[in-house]
C-alpha cells in the first residue's frame, strides 16, 4: 500500500510530499524524505517503550492514568511542558489540564524561539509563507541558522534551489547570504558568507539598518565584519525585489536574545521603505508553531502561562519551564512529547528528578528515566492523525497510515483520560 503527500512530522518545514510504502503493517520505504525524516519513519518502531509503568514497574494503562491523576490532583504547582512534537488536539487537551489543575503551562519555544515571540509582540512582524519565498524571493539571508543541519530540505523545497513563478532559474535567480559565527555547510553554499564575532549580531543588525537609512559609518569593521562587506549586503538588500531573512537560534540563544530579534525586525522594517522584505524564524520541532498557536487560542498567550490565580497570566522569565524548575517551584510535572531531561541545563533537570514526573512519549529518553509514571503513546503523523503548523504558520494535516501497537493510545486520548480522572477526583 502506498501513501502519497504524507507530511513529515520532524522539523518546522513539514515537507508534505513524502511517499510512504507500507507492507504487512510496517513501513517498507519512504521517498522524498531527508536523512533525519528517513530515520524517523524507518526507525519509528525501534526502541519503543514496552508498556506503561510506575516507578519502572510495568503495569496497565488505567493504573498509570490513575497515578497521573493522583499526582496532578494533589500538586499545588504542577508544570505542564513540552507539546512541540505532537498534534494540535493533544496540545489543546494539555491546556485544559493546566487550567483545571491551576498549573504552569509552557512549551519548548521557551528554549528556542521564545525570545522571537517576545520581540515580535513588541515590534510586529513582516511575514510570508514559504510558498511566497519559493515563487518570489530573489535575495535570501540565513542569519544564525544552519538549514543544512537542522532543516535539511528547506534549501531545496523553499528557499534556494526551487524554481518559482518569478525566479524561474531557481538558484541562478537568487542571491544567498549567510551571517554566522562559523563557516557552516550552509555558509559554503552561499554566494557570500559574512563571518561575525560571537555575541555581536545586535551591532551588525543596527549597522545595516543605519546604512540602509543612508547614514555614513566611519568604522572600518563592525562585529568583525569589514565595512565593505556590510555595505555590499546593504546594497544587495535594497536592490532585491523580494528579500527574506531566515533567522535561527544564533540570534535567540546568544547575548541580546529578544533584543537581537527586535533589531532584525527593525532592519526588515527599514528595508520595507525601499523594497519588499520579510523575516521568518526557522522553527525547530515540527509543531512548535502549533503549540504557540493553540495555546494562544485558548489562553491568549503563546507560552509561559500560569493558571494559579484561576485565570491565565503570561510572563516569560517567570512562568517558563526552566525558571519554574530552577526556582524549585514545581511540585509535579506532566511532560508531553518532549525531553527536558536531555535538553535543559543540568540544574533545571535536577529538579525534575526531585518531583513526581508523568511523561508521555514513544521511546525511552532521559526524561522517562527520571519519571515516576511513563505512558507510551502513538506517534502523531504515523500512528495518529491531527494538525500541525509549519514554521510560517500554515496548518497541515498529519496522517495516520499504520496502527499503533495494541493498547497504545494517542497523546490526545491519554490526556483525555487524565482530564476525565481529574474531573471525577474533584467530584
Amino acid at each position: 500500500m502506498q501513501y502519497t503527500d504524507i507530511v513529515c512530522p520532524f522539523c518546522g518545514c513539514l515537507c508534505d510530499d513524502l511517499e510512504v510504502t507500507i507492507k504487512d503493517g510496517h513501513i517498507e520505504s519512504v521517498k522524498n524524505a531527508c536523512t533525519i525524516s528517513q530515520s524517523k519513519f524507518m526507525n519509528h518502531h525501534e526502541n519503543r517503550i514496552n508498556a506503561p509503568s510506575i516507578n519502572g514497574k510495568e503495569t496497565e494503562l488505567e493504573k498509570t492514568v490513575e497515578k497521573a491523576v493522583e499526582i496532578l490532583a494533589s500538586a499545588r504547582r504542577p508544570l505542564i511542558y513540552g507539546l512541540s512534537s505532537t498534534e494540535c488536539g493533544a496540545i489543546s487537551k494539555a491546556v485544559e489540564i493546566a487550567e483545571f489543575t491551576g498549573g504552569v503551562l509552557d512549551n519548548t519555544s521557551s528554549v528556542c524561539h521564545g525570545p522571537t515571540i517576545l520581540a515580535l509582540q513588541q515590534v510586529g512582524e513582516s511575514k510570508t509563507t514559504l510558498g511566497e519565498v519559493k515563487n518570489r524571493a530573489d535575495l535570501v539571508v540565513f542569519w544564525g541558522s544552519n538549514p543544512t543541519e537542522a532543516h535539511l530540505r528547506h534549501i531545496v523545497r523553499y528557499s534556494v534551489t526551487p524554481k518559482g513563478m518569478y525566479v524561474q532559474e531557481g538558484k541562478k535567480d537568487r542571491k544567498i547570504f549567510v551571517v554566522d559565527v562559523r563557516e557552516t555547510r550552509t555558509a559554503k553554499m552561499a554566494d557570500k558568507f559574512l563571518k561575525i564575532d560571537h555575541n555581536k549580531d545586535f551591532e551588525l543588525l543596527l549597522a545595516l539598518r543605519a546604512l540602509i537609512r543612508g547614514e555614513e559609518l566611519k568604522a572600518s569593521q563592525i562585529a568583525g565584519v569589514p565595512i565593505k562587506e556590510i555595505k555590499t549586503l546593504a546594497e544587495e538588500m535594497m536592490k532585491a525585489k523580494f528579500g527574506v531573512v531566515f533567522f535561527g537560534l544564533g540570534l535567540t540563544q546568544s547575548d541580546g536574545r529578544h533584543m537581537n530579534i527586535d533589531a532584525a525586525v527593525g532592519l526588515v522594517s527599514e528595508l520595507n521603505r525601499k523594497t519588499k522584505f520579510v523575516l521568518t524564524p526557522m522553527r525547530g520541532h515540527y509543531n512548535v508553531a502549533g503549540a504557540n498557536t493553540v495555546t494562544t487560542w485558548q489562553t491568549g498567550y503563546p507560552y509561559a502561562v500560569d493558571f494559579s490565580t484561576g485565570y491565565p497570566r503570561y510572563n516569560p522569565g517567570e512562568f517558563t519551564a526552566i525558571d519554574v524548575l530552577n526556582r524549585g517551584e514545581a511540585d509535579a510535572a506532566l511532560i508531553i512529547a518532549s525531553d527536558p531531561g536531555a535538553t535543559f541545563p543540568k540544574d533545571a533537570a535536577k529538579h525534575l528528578a526531585q518531583i513526581p514526573v508523568i511523561t508521555l512519549d514513544q521511546k525511552t529518553t532521559p526524561t522517562t528515566m527520571l519519571s515516576e509514571v511513563v505512558i507510551p503513546v502513538a506517534t502523531a503523523g504515523i500512528e495518529a492523525e491531527g494538525t500541525a503548523y509549519r514554521m510560517d504558520g500554515v496548518p497541515l494535516k498529519l496522517s495516520k497510515f499504520i496502527d499503533a501497537r495494541e493498547g497504545v493510545c494517542s497523546d490526545r486520548e491519554v490526556l483525555d483520560m487524565i482530564i476525565a480522572g481529574l474531573k471525577e477526583a474533584k467530584q
Binding site: 533525519i36 526507525n43 526502541n47 546568544s254 529518553t365 532521559p366
Partner: protein, 123 residues
C-alpha cells in the same frame, strides 16, 4: 563555546536516545585544526570542557569551519552539564558564546546512564 543542532543528532534521536548513534552524535565537541595542533591532541585523548557552570569529559572531532578558539558542542545531555540554568528573566538560558576552557585528558567519557544518575543524585 557555541552549541547547536546537527543532522547526526536528529538521525540519532529518531533511532532512540539510548542508542549508540545518539550518544556518539552528542558526546563530543568540534574544534578547529589550529586548536588541535595547539593542544597537541592525540587520537587517544579526550577533552575536558569547563565553564563557570560545570565541566564534562567528551570526545572530539575537527570542524574546519571553526576558527581557532571556538568550540562547537551539539545540544544534548553532555552539553547540558556546562550550561547555566539562569535565564536572566527571559525564559531562555544562554547556549551560545559562552567562555569555556578545554584541556586534553585521559578521563573516560561518561555514559548517558551515568549522567542521568548524576542528575538524579543532585550532584
Amino acid at each position: 563555546m557555541i552549541s547547536g543542532r546537527t543532522a547526526k543528532q536528529g538521525i540519532g534521536l529518531e533511532i532512540g536516545k539510548l542508542s549508540k548513534s545518539y550518544a556518539e552524535s552528542v558526546n563530543h565537541v568540534q574544534l578547529s585544526t589550529d586548536d588541535v595542533k595547539e593542544l597537541a591532541l592525540e587520537k587517544t585523548h579526550n577533552l575536558r570542557i569547563s565553564t563557570e557552570h560545570g565541566s564534562v569529559t567528551v570526545n572530539w572531532i575537527i570542524d574546519k569551519g571553526l576558527s581557532a578558539g571556538m568550540v562547537f558542542f551539539p545540544y544534548g545531555p553532555w552539553a547540558n552539564q556546562v550550561f547555566s540554568s539562569n535565564t536572566d528573566s527571559t525564559g531562555m538560558p544562554i547556549m551560545k558564546g559562552i567562555p569555556a576552557t578545554i584541556i586534553p585528558t585521559d578521563d573516560k567519557v561518561q555514559e548517558l546512564n551515568e549522567i542521568i544518575e548524576k542528575i538524579r543524585s543532585g550532584a
